[in-house]
């Protein structure tokens, strides 16, 4: 099962399993939130469906795994490296692919960014091989909460996602750059008409979103296994989050990520094969209730 953790305690144990199921749901939600925010912002600001988002996620994960030995095993440094390393990549994608797609039909963006993803995935296969790699849990201990062992690392991921949420809220509501982006989300032409070069701000947001995707990828490595195609599953789930949360809606993305993480975990507990399917059922319902206007 793609995004579900390899050792799914909830499915293995019986009685107290619901608590760990919820904890896993929140972990998945946290990762999904960190990854999806960039996708949501790119769609909300640029009206571009960016499949290449899954590539920076994958690169972030591989950069962490490869750099870990160079940082003497320091997980934190390796995560930071994974996040920073995608900045030039995101810049190149924005400058030479995304920027040419402004105002074009949305299918061109899908085709072009999907091409970038495929090229990138093959490059990953070439560099790192197709064999799955794994990185062990950097903390390794668990806290016992309500009689259930919860790995500290996963609790840290949940805490980090809350921190990302708070920082983004402060950034978008309290700084001028953030407010320009919020204004641009609301009405791009009116923002331009204030003499603001909105595209420059949107490029910045694009890179910020890519860095968060890389962060999500890097953080997820110890929970899952690392392979060149890891981005594909996450991409589809992130789209579900973005659609349920509302395109460009930052708070909505936060709520939707955790809700869908819980949907996955709870469904997986009772019917493992349906856990990802249920996410798309929820997405379909969201689309029926509130269709997207493109």
């Amino acid at each position: 099962m793609g995004l579900l953790p390899r050792t799914h305690h909830g499915a293995e144990r019986g009685g107290e399993g619901m608590i760990s199921t919820i904890a896993y749901g929140l972990t998945i939600g946290a990762i999904l939130y960190i990854i999806s925010i960039g996708l949501s912002l790119t769609f909300g600001t640029m009206r571009i469906v960016n499949f290449a988002h899954a590539l920076v996620y994958t690169i972030g994960a591989y950069a962490l795994a490869s750099s870990l030995p160079f940082f003497g095993g320091s997980f934190v440094l390796a995560v930071i490296f994974g996040v920073v390393v995608v900045i030039p990549l995101a810049y190149l994608i924005e400058r030479f692919v995304i920027r040419r797609l402004y105002g074009q039909s949305i299918d061109y963006a899908i085709i072009a960014t999907y091409a970038v993803l495929l090229i990138g995935v093959d490059a990953c296969k070439w560099v790192w091989g197709a064999t799955p790699l794994s990185v062990s849990d950097p903390i390794g201990t668990a806290w016992t909460i309500l009689g259930v062992d919860l790995p500290v690392y996963r609790l840290i991921i949940i805490a980090l996602s809350l921190l990302v949420f708070v920082v983004l809220e402060l950034f978008f509501r309290r700084t001028v750059v953030g407010k320009v982006v919020v204004a641009g989300l609301e009405d791009k032409e009116a923002t331009r008409s204030l003499g603001i070069n909105v595209d420059k701000y949107f490029s910045f947001v694009f890179i910020l979103g890519s860095c968060l995707a890389a962060l999500g990828g890097a953080l997820y490595v110890p929970i899952t296994s690392l392979h060149p195609y890891m981005g594909f599953q996450v991409l589809l789930l992130s789209f579900a989050v973005v659609i349920v949360g509302g395109l460009g809606n930052m708070r909505g993305t936060f709520v939707a990520a955790f809700a869908l993480g819980l949907v996955m975990a709870v469904t997986g507990r009772f019917w493992g094969a349906a856990s990802e399917t249920m996410v798309f059922v929820v997405m379909a319902v969201a689309l029926i209730v509130k269709p997207i206007e493109v």
């Binding site: 331009r192 008409s193 204030l194």
Partner: protein
Amino acid sequence: MQNGMVLESQSVSKRFGNFTAVDQVSYQLFEGEAAGIIGPNGAGKSTFFNLLTGLYPPSEGRISLFSRDVTSLRADQRVMLGVVRTFQLVSVFDTLSVLDNLVLSVVRFHPVAGKKARFILGSAHPAAIVAECMAALERVGISHLAKETTAKLSYGDKRKLEIAMGLALKPKVLLLDEPLAGLSDGEITEVLDLVREVHKEMTLVIIEHKISRIVDLVTRLSVMHEGRLIADGVPGEVLQDPTVRQVYWGAESSRVFSGLAAEEKAEV
């Protein structure tokens, strides 16, 4: 009247697929003018504004500002050269506070405070910036609403806010796209007074649907119809033009037109 040329379009056209929204319009605006552009719905007036301000690239033709070719400049670059506009559907940012709306207009004129403040929490509002924003709100008479969320404002107050944001950009030319649409009679009077006041400082172009509202304000009147400029000149003469009467009031209604003209005279 023959001051310097502010704005000029040379045979600009805009096509959307097979539809020609603006068709070979050549237009010149001179310093100090208050020019009105009228025409039926769908005549291409707003599209023409979008071409002048750079929101749309023209399909053909050239646009100059102060005798400089700006056809390839972006909308935000043209704003910095002094062309500012308002929108037919009032365009303010509902999710931001009234003050923040103005901060977006003002912040570029404070390079030091502005640049440093951009990434810093809370310091989005150095005293100088706030003072300038409040002065701009004061001018349109809504400074008491500064702290409100913009979504809560009445449509008329939003229109005043939009004009305040435009003025805060220190324009040389202000393009107003149906600034009176959707306003109550009282608000129309207030906004018209404001526009008259503003005209003392800058060149104006006003798109309006109802001629009677602006006929005593404008020094020049142009009429658009099906994307073309069909008349351009002193308001009194333009309104007497048979083609204009035909377009604006239909073939059958020269009688009605005399009535309207009388009504307009009464308003003047």
